[in-house]
Structure formats: structure tokens, C-alpha cells
């Protein structure tokens, strides 16, 4: 297998596996926020603002996976250019 093939497989695995846990975590966060808003509709503003910040934090993990995938595909130091 060449470095290019390995890089492509690596990028696919990184994105596929790396987005599982952020997806589950974001789902749980949104469900909890929905629950809170349904119980206390008057706190919807503060809740959704905190939700957005929290989602951004959770999303960071998926973004690091994206960075690694992009590095593997487009800026791979081991693949001969």
C-alpha cells in the first residue's frame, strides 16, 4: 500500500470514528436544553446561549478530527509531492 492509499483510509477512519462521540454528546446536550426550555420557557434565552457555547466546545473534538483528515489529504508530510 502506498502512503497515499493509507492517508485516504486514515482520513476516512478519522472522520467516521471521530464524529461518533461528538454527535452523541451534542444530541444529549440539545435534549437536556430542550427539556429545560420545556419546563421553564422564560429561561429560553439564557439556555440557548449557553447551549450554543457548549455545542461549540463539544464540536471542537470533531473539528480536530477534520483538521487531521485535511492534513492527511492535503498537507501530508510523508507523501511525495
Amino acid at each position: 500500500m502506498t502512503v497515499q492509499m493509507l492517508s485516504i483510509i486514515g482520513a476516512v477512519v478519522v472522520v467516521a470514528v471521530g464524529s461518533i462521540s461528538p454527535a452523541l454528546a451534542e444530541g444529549r446536550a440539545i435534549a437536556a436544553a430542550m427539556d429545560g426550555i420545556a419546563r421553564q420557557p422564560e429561561s429560553a434565552g439564557a439556555l440557548s446561549r449557553t447551549l450554543f457555547v457548549g455545542l461549540a466546545m463539544i464540536e471542537t473534538m470533531a473539528i480536530y478530527c477534520l483538521v487531521i483528515a485535511l492534513l492527511l489529504l492535503f498537507a501530508n508530510p510523508y507523501a511525495a509531492r
Binding site: G45, V53, L66, V67, L70
Partner: protein, 223 residues
Amino acid sequence: MTHSPLESAVVFRLGTIAVTETVVTTWCLILALLITCLLLTRKLSIVPSDVQATVESLVGVIDEQLAGILNRDPVEFVPLVGTLFLFLVVANLAGIVPGVRAPTASIETPAALAVIVFFSVHYFGFRTRGVWGYLKGYLEPNPLLLPLNILSEFTRSFSLMMRLFGNIMSDELVLAIVVALAGLLVPIPFMAFEILVGLVQAYIFSVLTAVYIGGAIGSIEKQ
């Protein structure tokens, strides 16, 4: 699909400096924003016209949101965060215009904005709490956490950049793939989604900037 999203096309060269498509688009957007703002604020009066009332309510919303995040009078932070938000809305939505690439879809623009945020957070921290007061914040809650606190300053700026870049760029990529696979009319829902993502990302970038500033000036708990 061999074109790398980490590079952008060079339009012309100034001496040895290559001016890319991204930079030219950004200049045009800045000029358009500047002219719009000058026109909108030209004839201000106590009794507002329709246009003035609309703009005032927009600025009021930004004010209100910032005050809600920072738990204090946001007047000195509105110029930075408000400008970031307005610029990002325009920049993210520029991709909708045919023939224009959103400047935030190439990595330079988000990187520059993240650097601006990085330095302004420290600037506001030093100005509000003084040099020692601000530096002492790095030793909380425990001096053992100093390396982690310093590391998180860099990683959060980095993730701020990658979040914006990754979202806008991947939207563009998905759109290109759908166009290549399905052709006419099918990409329209994806373009509508691109509008939503662009607005949400502009909001998130501004909110996170405000949260970081709030952490630096000590008005909210550090994230």
C-alpha cells in the same frame, strides 16, 4: 476534486506578495460594509426614520446579547464583537453570490480573525484588571494548572479558527460534490442550509469572543 481547500487562487502579485482571491473578496466586502454603514448613519435624528429605526434595533440586539453574556455594561466591547458579527455574516453569506467564494472558506481569514480575538482578549484583560490582576487569573483555581491554562489560550484560538473554516469550507465542498453528482436544482436545499450554517457560525464566533473576553475581564467564569 484535486484542488486543495488549504490553498486559494492567486489573482495578481504586488512585488513578491501574492494577492489571493480571498483577499480581493475581503476588500470588496469591507468596502461594501463601509459604504453601507456610512449611508445608513448619514442623517441621524432624534425621531428616527424607518431605516434608522431598523439599524438601531439591530445594534440594540447586539448590545443586549453582549450585556447578557458579560453581566456588565458592554459599551467598550460592542465595537469589536459587533464588527466581527456583521463582517462574518456578510463574509459567510458571500458564498451564495454566484462566482464569489466566501472568504471564510479559506483558512487565512478565520486565522486572521482568531489572531485579532486572541490579542484583544488579553488587551481587555490587562486593561480591566491590571497586569498583575490579569496574570494572577492564570494561577486560579490552582497554580498547578498554569501550563493547562496557558495551553488552553492557544488551543481555543486555534479551535475558533478551525470551527469557522471547517464549517464554511465543508459546506462549499458538499455543495460542489452534490453539483457534480446530481446537477441542477438538487443543490438548492443545501444552499439554504449553507445560509443557516453561515449565520449560526457568525453568531457562535461572536458569542465565543464575548465569552473569552468575559473570562479575561473576570465578569464570568472562565470556560
